[in-house]
């Protein structure tokens, strides 16, 4: 069982952070931008629905990078570290680690540059390098505008019908999941069968390698946490890929 996969329903936590800002530090905007650019430059986009021709994009980035890769990083760290590091700190750690691992940058370079930007306890005013490449930015905007939909028109007969009671699966725990852990082995009701099929991002992620039917599944909180430890008067819905449903209940 992995904490990062099973956050829903965790007890003993304090008050919610009511902060309405998207970013609380200016530096966070930069790692957000870097991650978004990487997704826009990902080599897997050649196979996506919109018409991307990644070989035409003049970037030296030649790897796959999607939300799944970012989350694999965050889901792979120690659960204690997951709470210790703030949201964008995890992004910075994961993404700098990725560029080091893939050999785009070296540890020495990163350290040297970091020290350049950090002078005597202050941020230096050295500007970022100036190197325009229009084709890179064109692709980035195109990605923001056209996205990367997982919907696939191939037809597969859904295994389950709206209104049907089902039991949720309990697969081996691995790198990355789209099954909220608190739903494992629980009984729910199919509320909606989403049309067509849905593909997930490339890389190791449970049973999500092939496009499949997806469902909105409805749960009574008492069926998840018991009457004593749940609230009445509420219902919880989760969108689940078909492979996360073990069978009829």
């Amino acid at each position: 069982m992995k904490l990062q996969h099973t956050l829903g329903g965790l007890q003993g936590l304090g008050p919610v952070d009511f902060q309405k800002k998207v970013f609380v530090e200016a530096w966070e905007t930069r790692i957000f931008g870097i991650h978004t650019a990487m997704m826009a430059l990902s080599s897997h986009l050649d196979g996506s629905l919109p018409d991307y021709t990644m070989s035409d994009v003049p970037s030296t980035f030649k790897d796959i990078w999607t939300w799944a890769d970012l989350r694999r990083g965050a889901e792979g760290i120690s659960p204690f570290a997951y709470f210790q590091y703030r949201y964008y700190e995890k992004w910075l750690g994961g993404i700098s680690g990725f560029f080091l691992e893939k050999g785009y940058i070296t540890e020495d370079e990163l350290t040297e540059f970091t020290e350049q930007y950090l002078k005597e306890g202050n941020m230096s005013t050295i500007p970022l390098p100036f190197k325009e490449e229009q084709g890179i930015d064109t692709q980035i905007i195109k990605y923001l505008e056209e996205g990367d939909s997982g919907r696939r028109t191939q037809q597969q007969p859904p295994m389950y019908q709206a209104g049907q009671k089902v039991k949720i699966a309990d697969p081996d725990c691995n790198d990355h999941t789209r099954l909220p852990g608190y739903l494992r082995n629980k009984i729910g009701t199919i509320d909606l069968v989403y049309p067509d099929c849905y593909a997930y991002f490339p890389g190791p992620s449970d049973c999500l390698q092939t496009p499949q039917v997806s469902y909105s599944v409805k749960f009574e909180p008492k069926d998840i946490w018991g009457v004593e430890y749940s609230e009445s008067g509420s219902t919880i819905y989760a969108d689940l890929f078909e492979c996360y449903i073990a069978g009829p209940a």
Binding site: L7, G8, G9, L10, Q11, L13, P15, V16, D17, V22, A26, G33, I34, A40, L41, P58, S59, F61, R71, F80, Y82, Q84, Y87, Y88, L92, F99, Y104, I105, F113, T114, Q116, Y117, N122, M123, L128, P129, F130, K131, E132, E133, I136, D137, Y143, L144, E145, E146, G147, S149, G150, L179, P180, Y182, S214, W225, S230, E231, Y237, A238, D239, L240
Partner: protein, 208 residues
């Protein structure tokens, strides 16, 4: 007083500064090595200031309030509703390819969460606020939505059913909040100004 194991959670006094320097270093290297253009990050940030943001969602909600047919379309097929309006290109783009709207009524209140990460409908709401990304919110809202909403200052009637939507799949969910009373004479533009990201994710109602 120090609790054994405190060292695990001790931070450098220069925590933010070190992150800022490191991200600058990373961006500088990526530009130098041709991964990014020097304007890539700025262009992305500008996109979320001007093209993708809660101002889009607010427009859609305001129109749904004044036009019952549009409201039904928004609920049945959010992306189709977006394409009918004069909205920026990209309303079915990144993190909005497949959006769905849950309608609040006098008897049903919807709350959107993402217990696995922080899935958020970029085209209609822009980028998620810190509260939505907060692991405490993500954990507690799944089990005790009514209590969490009270902590947000939203006290719902006991008879109101709360529907919590965990965005664990391909859908990017958001909420069509109720139109507040006393706004009958307001224009769509004036109505749109009342509608907050918090109301469009279900942790608040729209106030007049």
């Amino acid at each position: 007083m120090t609790i054994p194991g405190d060292e695990m959670f001790s931070y450098s006094a220069n925590r933010e500064l070190e992150s800022a320097a490191k991200v600058n270093a990373l961006e500088a290297l990526l530009i130098q090595k041709g991964v990014l253009s020097s304007s890539s990050v700025d262009k992305i940030l500008d996109y979320f200031e001007t093209r993708m943001g809660p101002f889009n969602g607010a427009k859609l909600v305001a129109k749904a309030w004044v036009d019952p047919e549009f409201k039904q379309l928004l609920i049945d097929d959010c992306n189709a509703a977006c394409s009918q309006m004069d909205m920026p290109t990209g309303m079915s783009g990144a993190e909005g390819e497949i959006m769905r709207v849950a309608e609040n009524t006098s008897t049903v209140h919807n709350l959107i969460i993402c217990t696995l990460c922080s899935c958020y409908p970029w085209p209609t709401l822009g980028l998620p606020p810190y509260w939505f990304k907060d692991p405490t919110f993500r954990a507690r809202a799944a089990r005790e939505p009514r209590t969490v909403l009270q902590e947000f200052g939203l006290n719902l009637d006991d008879s109101t059913e709360i529907r919590v939507w965990d965005s664990s799949g391909q859908i990017r969910w958001w909420v069509l909040p109720e139109r507040p009373a006393g706004t009958e004479s307001m224009s769509e533009e004036e109505l749109a100004k009342l509608i907050t990201p918090e109301a469009m994710m279900g942790v608040a109602k729209v106030a007049k």
